[in-house]
Amino acid sequence: MSDLPRHRLSDLLGMHVRFADGRDGDNVVDVRLAPGDRVRGQLHELVTEGLIIGRRRPGTLFGYDRDPQEGPWVIRALVRLVHRRTGYLEWGDVDGIDWEEQTVRLRVNDLRELQRARG
């Protein structure tokens, strides 16, 4: 077994972000996972690919971040409205995570557009 530090992924949810210029941002709403290079068991391992950042509690996107074509359009429009400030970060934008301070330090000053996830 490796002795890399272990954490609960749910600890990451709800952490607030801090931009490179020191401003505080919103909270982690969801974590995007993607297959990594190594194989673990039968599948490729899952590694973090990005973060969804917004003001709302985790879980209120109802999955509408994944497929922009999904209906019904009224619900999708409502979710978009509620999450209009919600944005995305690639993992490369993350400088580091302070697990005790519950903060994600970033290398960038802005969020990206919430986009459809690959995979």
Partner: protein, 121 residues
């Protein structure tokens, strides 16, 4: 889409194992987090419920199963065979052993009733 939280975990026979209550990750040197295990049980779900509700339910559940309330029943990620609308393992439910409350219910109450082991008619 590779969503793990709150998905049903099944064994190869389709038997229900648990739900993904939380996910354990390790921090790689390059900063990325890699999934090492699926966490189930009151110790895993309690913190996600948050606040007083989470604390109460963890402790109540822990009492029934006789385990430590922070115990989280990990299922190593290497045992996962497929991820879809549910997560399928490559080993049977018994092999994973996350069933504290089920075993308690079975031995204390259900097995005492006649017909517990028979197929329904």
């Amino acid at each position: 889409m590779l969503q793990l939280f709150d998905r049903q975990i099944l064994d190869p026979d389709g038997r229900m194992v648990a739900k993904v209550d939380d996910v354990e990750v390790e921090e790689r040197p390059d900063g990325r987090l890699a999934v090492t295990a699926l966490l189930t049980g009151p110790g895993a779900l309690g913190p996600r419920l948050g606040g007083a509700l989470g604390g109460i339910s963890s402790r109540a559940w822990a009492r029934l199963t006789g385990k430590d309330s922070s115990d989280s029943n990990p299922i190593d990620y290497s045992l996962v065979a497929d991820i879809g609308s549910a997560i399928t393992l490559s080993v049977s439910r018994a092999a994973v052993g996350v069933d504290g409350f089920e075993v308690w219910a079975r031995t204390r109450i259900i097995a005492a009733l006649p017909g517990a082991g028979k197929d329904p008619q």
